[in-house]
Amino acid sequence: MSPAVEIEADAVPIVRIVAALARRSLAQPSLAKRIAKLNGIVGIQSAADPQSATLRFDGDVVRVERGIAADADVTITIDLGDPDAKPKVNGAVRHPALTVAAAKLLEPPVGSWQDEADRFFTGALASPACPRPLRVVCTDDGTERQWGGDGEPIVEVHGSAARLAIAMSGSAVLPEEILEGRLHVVGDLRNLSILTRFAIDHLFGEL
């Protein structure tokens, strides 16, 4: 059985995001099995701002809390603004298994853009508030897919397969990717604004 991921009430964004990543990672049976045998405390902090969280591994439960615990065995410092930057780790020598497990927990596998978009839009479209139809166009090869019915899409997202997969997986916020030019959109601000709510819920694993 996969360990449960618990968070505190009124959790801050980094706690919700870390918990969402952990839940996705724990869908891998081999990792879930390894985590279920672990005990230890891992702190995660942002290199750029005061955001921080603590993962408490206690067999069947992984608890995510705000702030860095004073008794953390391992501390991982991540540049949240640069996903390609190498994390800095303290405590890895003494706790190699814990460090590797935590790193894997924070990096769930990302599927194809089609699979990730399917998961995101299926969740979002369960709400009547979600704009529809939605179309995604992969600029690598021109393939398209549409969700929420036929006809002219109300929002159309264009991008490379890699960027689409990251954005649709909840590892980044879709509208932020668009506003920063990593993805492109055909649509309007009103619907992009509504879609933002679903993208944030997705990031938090609350969709």
């Binding site: 801050v12 701002d49 005061p50 955001q51 702030g67 601000l189 009103r190 509504i194 709510r197």
Partner: protein
């Protein structure tokens, strides 16, 4: 005021330009300065056009995302600032300028639901239909610092130096000689602006002051708060100082904005009853019952930002639990009932950074629900309402943005009166602000405000 009256006003005061200001959902004044001829055309027509994104951005100009409303066009469209001529006054300190507040309307002429002025008018009309008028007065607290806002911004808000030495005691006279020249000019300008100030005093934090304004109808009283903020900042800037009304600027006492209010009927004030329980009339008890039932739901309006919640500190004059009592300043609702003229409710949850129109609206909404449902308040809390142990006695009030939003989301009474669209938009805005705080540099665990808070709120409040 007819168009001829407006023309006569402009001529009599030798007005060469008119500042027309609406209010954003973050309580920022926005508008244009018009030539007299353009102003007259705006009065006779649909108002002054502004891009709708001005109402749809957060306080630092980023588009508020995650929610929408019918008045936000699909891309960028226009809204209209419709001048409220009852507020037209000369602007002291800016020779030849007049100013007025404006309602924000959609192109079809309907008020935008996030226009606080329009919302307060609606609720006041609803109360009038029951035979009552309300009288509101805000206790406005702010702080002065050495150096202009620009100079403090250039230092990235480090080493903020409050004006005066402070004494951690409210009313202390030791800094009055430093405050007096500034406050005298502020009060002179408030006189010109038609703001009936009553008194000012030094407050407990260094550089802190409080201004009291006479009670008026809720729309006028809320307008007065924004006028006081604007005039104070203008005077401070001219004197090489900066002023802010953000809720917590330093680790010292924060800035509050307590809201006093009462109801009157044609016969006079209606809260006092010499024979009633606690000398309160049934109307007063129902009103208090409604306010009490919506205390938690109202929290995000009384404390809208992460910085607002830094003010919540037991024994620092900020309520922490859902309580009411007669003349007890530790409770959330302090009720006075001694005489017809003084009987009123002081809602003490308000932080200095609240939107005064929305705050008035949410109190009217709670009170109206109380009247319509004949709600009764629980027993008075006749003890000190600070330092209470968890799980004992009254319910703790929301102490952060998410719990305040959760309480509002679940408050059926406030939703019924204020409308789902307004409530959902407000929740979306506040959630967006909370996300920004946590993901862009804010830190709820820091002892005092973070640079993120100071850069976002110091100048805009």
């Amino acid at each position: 005021m007819t168009i001829d009256d407006v023309e006569a006003f402009l001529e009599a005061h030798e007005i060469g330009r008119v500042r027309v200001l609406g209010v954003t959902p973050d309580a920022l004044p926005i508008g244009k300065v018009l030539s007299p001829a353009t102003f007259l055309r705006a009065v006779e027509g649909k108002g002054v056009g502004i891009a709708d994104f001005a109402m749809g951005m957060d306080r630092i100009g980023e588009p508020s995302m995650g929610f929408t409303a019918p008045w936000r066009s699909s891309v960028i469209g226009d809204l209209h600032l419709v001048p409220d001529l009852a507020t037209l006054r000369p602007v002291a300190g800016l020779d030849g300028m007049a100013g007025c507040w404006a309602d924000v309307h959609a192109p079809d002429g309907t008020p935008v639901d996030m226009c606080g002025r329009s919302l307060v008018k609606d609720l006041a009309a609803r109360l009038a239909a029951l035979g009552y008028q309300s009288r509101f007065s805000f206790e406005i607290e702010g702080q002065f610092f050495e150096g202009t806002a620009g100079e403090n911004r250039a230092r990235e808000w480090r080493d903020l130096t409050p004006l005066g030495v402070g004494g951690h005691i409210a009313y202390l006279a030791q800094d009055i000689h430093r405050l007096d020249p500034i406050m005298t000019e502020i009060c002179r300008r408030l006189d010109v602006a038609g703001v009936p100030w009553e008194a000012w005093n030094a407050e407990a934090a260094a550089g802190q002051f409080e201004i009291n304004v006479e009670p008026r109808d809720p729309l006028t009283a809320a307008d007065h708060v924004l006028t006081v903020r604007k005039v104070t900042k203008e005077v401070a800037h001219e004197r090489g100082l900066s002023a802010t009304f953000m809720a917590r600027v330093t680790e010292d006492y924060g800035n509050g904005l307590h809201v006093h209010h009462s109801l009157v009927a044609e016969s006079g004030p209606v809260f006092h009853d010499p024979d009633g329980l606690d000398r309160l009339s049934p109307i007063a008890r129902h009103w208090i019952g409604g306010l009490f039932a919506t205390l938690a739901g109202a929290a995000s309006f009384m404390a809208p930002t992460p910085n607002s919640f830094r003010r919540i500190d037991p024994f620092k004059a900020v309520p922490t639990h859902a309580t009411w009592d007669i003349d007890n300043k530790s409770t959330a609702l302090r009720v006075l009932s001694e005489s017809p003229g003084s009987a009123r409710v002081e809602h003490r949850m308000g932080a200095g950074d609240l939107h005064p129109h929305f705050a008035a609206a949410v109190l009217l909404a709670g009170g109206l629900a109380g009247l319509e449902e004949s709600l009764e308040p629980p027993a008075r809390f006749e003890k000190m309402a600070w330092g209470l142990p968890d799980g004992v006695g009254p319910t703790r009030l929301p102490a952060d943005v998410p719990s305040a939003l959760e309480a509002l989301d679940a408050d059926v009474r406030l939703r019924n009166v204020l409308g789902d669209q307004f409530v959902d938009y407000w929740i979306g805005m506040r959630r967006f602000e909370w996300l920004g705080f946590h993901t862009q540099g804010g830190d709820a665990t820091s002892a005092g405000p973070t640079p993120w808070e100071l850069s976002r709120y110091f100048e805009t409040l």
